[in-house]
């Protein structure tokens, strides 16, 4: 059986906390292992943070959409913003010595490391991040 939950958030910093609460609730219901739930919650907070701050630039009239699709063996999460997109190749590598102690730029690396499949699809009308965790 497949369950789909979708929620829209205003581009405010508290969207991160609200999205995490929803994700935590859903992954608890799915009875995922605690370490898997943490991976998913961390990934969602990274994607929402990026969407609110970098995608929508904290503009009050823009929204971030979180979509969570659960099936028996997969959880698929999509985060969409309404920003102008970005050049994926221009994202700095946070592991190089010159970037290692910068305060930001690690979100996508963490998402890719904790989830099984990650697609980042920037466009001029917004960026879509699709993250999959297999059970």
């Amino acid at each position: 059986m497949k369950t789909v939950v979708e929620k829209r958030y205003r581009s405010r910093i508290d969207a991160v906390v609200r999205a995490e609460r929803l994700t935590d609730k859903i992954t608890k219901k799915m009875r995922l292992a605690e370490h898997e739930r943490m991976d998913i919650c961390i990934a969602v907070t990274e994607a929402i943070n990026n969407a609110v701050q970098h995608g929508n630039q904290m503009m009050a009239d823009k929204y971030v959409t979180l979509r969570i699709e659960c099936s028996d063996n997969t959880i698929r999460i999509t985060v969409c913003d309404e920003g102008e997109g970005f050049d994926l190749d221009a994202v700095a590598d946070p592991l190089t010595p010159e970037n290692l102690i910068k305060p930001n730029g690690r979100g996508l690396l963490i998402v890719k490391s904790l989830m099984d499949d990650v697609d980042v699809l920037p466009s001029t009308t917004g960026t879509e991040v699709v993250m999959v965790k297999k059970r």
Binding site: D14, V17, E20, M38, E46, L95, I101, N104, R106
Partner: protein
Amino acid sequence: MQIKHDVSGDVAVLHLQGKIMGGPDATSLHEKLHELIDNGTLSVVVDLQGVAWMNSSGLGILIGGLSALRKSGGDLRLARVTDKIEEVLRITKLDRVFDIYSNTEDAIASYQS
């Protein structure tokens, strides 16, 4: 997230509780670290036993505090890092940047050596 602040000699120990994911809670940690730096505290231990996980926002705040303290001749050291935070530190290679201790006593004592 909750922050409890202890002092042991010249060392400030921050005991954190909850998740660190950005938003208002992360701001309070940032403000607490900079309050310590502004007050001349150079030796800080952050006790993470009560933190199940943190994301890159939390790491960024700790790195910001570490950089500010090291510039002033001080340091920020981590104690009782939980499994998921250890994994995130390893992924980001920040396990090579922070000094990490298995308990707060050793982290405090490291400032005396």
